[in-house]
Subunit: 415 residues, 2 copies
């Protein structure tokens, strides 16, 4: 498991396949996994993943800090999760109805997550957030949903960050406000007038290309208070952060209870699944809407999720990734300080984001991650990263060595 030590990593096979991909796939690749907007040096394709390591087509190995953009919570190819999947697959994956696991899984997630009296399951995070809007409108008979400007809630027409192909009516019942800004939220509530169905909020402000912000307690309390007063639904979009901040739900430590919570990503350690959990007063509405999908009841994904949730009940995953995240953050801060390089590290340490000061075009950030790729470290220049249970203190030490190398280069270039 030799990490790549060369600065200019070889991506010959990757580049060749990218060329072939241009013929068969529009633009060569779609969605968040396209590397087109990332600086040169990122592989587009991967050939292997195990624990906290990932390999590209050319055999370069990286300590990975993206975790598949979140799903990898326990380590890639976690043996216990894969075993649970294999055992289930010997029986049934997809039938004309779910396996018994759907009930076990619903019970399990309700047991672990605070503010959850019932659960239903889907495939995409977008399925879960969209379903939260539908339940809110069904329950309240109202239309308007308040959304924080710049927050990512999925890629359906109502929430995709790129407006191409989206029509006005897809977003005409959304009212935007600034995350963590009570006055802005209250102005949006005024705009909604008597038609406020709900407020949807990510666990914390994890928009790309800017510092992350944990939610202010007073802001969450205000959102809760408004929903109580206006008979509206408070929705926690925990798709990205779920099970990394607190296994009981990301707002547990803030003492604010959402009415609905959307989970996905880490819920099955990479096996495709999402969930909506909610409080009792929304049970009736949730039973009256119609949402479904051909694969929403794949029993293998439910087996994966049951095992994943069992592991996070037994092992303090949040503690582990917080510890390593803090170690990484402290180390990077010290390196940057010593070298006089201005950086900003923000958000929860287990979901790190490192931005450079005075770097509006991300030119420093891009060089930084390129140096790191050359040393076998996979960072992202403007999207929050993720830690997993499979990352070790030694991984962080190796990473800090590479960070020191990269920061020195950056510091010389600044001067």
């Amino acid at each position: 498991m030799q990490l790549n030590k060369q600065h200019n990593i070889k991506l010959a096979k990757d580049l060749s396949l990218r060329k072939r991909a241009e013929t068969f796939i529009p633009g060569g690749m779609w969605g968040h996994m396209s590397v087109k907007k990332l600086p040169h040096g990122y592989p587009q394709f991967f050939s292997k993943a195990k624990d906290a390591r990932i390999w590209d087509l050319d055999g370069n190995c990286y300590i990975d800090f993206m975790c598949g953009y979140g799903p990898n919570l326990l380590g890639y190819s976690n043996a216990e999760v894969d075993h649970a999947v294999n055992e289930q697959r010997k029986k049934i994956d997809l039938g004309n109805g779910p396996s018994a696991l759907v009930v076990d899984l619903a019970e399990k997630i309700i047991t672990i997550v605070d503010s959850a009296d019932w659960a239903l399951f889907a495939k995409n995070g977008t399925d879960a957030t969209t379903t939260c809007l539908t339940i809110s409108r069904a329950a309240t008979g109202k239309k308007k949903i308040l959304v924080a400007r710049g927050s990512y809630h999925g890629s359906a027409p109502w929430c995709t960050p790129v407006a191409t192909g989206v029509v006005e009516e897809d977003t005409s019942n959304l009212i935007f406000f600034e995350y963590n800004d009570n006055a802005s939220l209250e102005a949006a509530v005024q705009d909604a007038d008597s038609d406020l169905a709900g407020i949807i909020l990510t666990a914390f402000r994890h928009d790309v290309r800017r510092d992350q912000d944990l939610p202010k307690k007073a802001f969450l309390k205000k959102a809760r208070e408004i929903c109580d007063k206006k008979n509206a639904v408070l929705i926690l979009d925990d798709v990205r952060a779920g099970f990394r901040l607190n296994k009981s739900g990301s707002w547990f430590d803030f003492g604010v209870k959402p009415d609905l919570t959307a989970f996905s990503k880490a819920i099955g350690n990479g096996y495709p699944l999402s969930a909506v959990v909610g409080v009792d007063k929304l049970r009736q509405a949730a039973s009256e809407i119609y949402v479904t999908g051909s694969f929403w009841c794949n029993a293998t994904s439910m087996a994966a999720s049951l095992k994943t949730l069992s592991i996070i009940e037994e092992i303090d995953v949040v503690g582990h990734i917080s510890f390593l995240g803090n170690k990484l953050r402290a180390g990077i801060d010290q390196i940057a300080n010593n070298l006089g390089v201005g950086i900003s590290q923000s958000g929860p340490p287990q979901m790190p984001l490192i931005l450079f000061k005075d770097d509006k075009d991300f030119s420093r950030g891009k060089k930084f991650v390129q140096y790191l790729l050359g040393r076998g470290i996979y960072f992202h220049p403007w999207h929050n990263m993720f830690l997993s249970l499979a990352h070790t203190a030694k991984d962080v030490d190796i990473t800090l060595d590479a960070v020191e190398f990269a920061m020195k280069k950056i510091s010389l270039e600044i001067k």
Copy 2:
């Protein structure tokens, strides 16, 4: 593999789990897999599936004619598909980008499907149909989509058949017409005026609770002509029928080429995947929209699909299921004729639908399927059914024996 021979099948474990499910899942179960609207006797949960057989929690075994509502094309737990998945999983399932299989799979589906110059992949059928709308709007700069009344295109707010929680704006850019009715289609085109972005059509009319209709060639040609004339996009929603009518796309035999085609269900023989394929003129628009999902690049689903598509290239799956579908249909017709029971069998034989004459409340249809369940045959009273490569002529013979038993009972009750 003893089929259940008792009329009153025992569902004690199933009923007990359903009671438990009521506590944890709104209404006990959501979506198309809920048996709440089906007559008494259907198990809600399944414990095992292999080839064309499915087992409920109480150990009752059924010859299954629903195929998981479509995904099971080659037989449940097909050994070759599962092997391909296992081999892929040893390498990588989900990473920070796709595996090389995404390119192989795009090339493969373009090779097999007519009217496909490029492909992209998603998870749900709904992802694929919704993406087709987005691409159509991006390409044309227009808004209106023509949709056949009663057609099922998924469960996002714009297409879900239950309006609860759906707001007016979700459907305000749709214009409805009658499937197979040229005058109705042309009236809808008039309504769209200069704002026609596209026409979406299922492969054939497979709406629930009514006879199925294959598309009239003149109707498809009219839709094609309108789209050509109006610079609009002709969308084939082949999610339900794809790879069962013709491996090259369900309209191949009609000589009408869609601009976009949505696939899902059978594409990976049960592993979660969907696809949008399109013609060159829409490649640019497809590269400019933003659609994505955390699990859209699971390499195991792509391995499953590659193997599934390879098998349908080598084996005449459509021929096999058509042959058995015709055998089943002819046998049922003969039984009904002999007994003087009025029935209607409609649509392609490999996707059978059997309705009773003068049965508006489906009371005969319900009794019929209940008698069949008691004999170990899983039919549906009002949704089209599905055949798979794993069904055998002997399965059909066993089924016809049970149909004769059930029809006799029905005929006595009619008299």
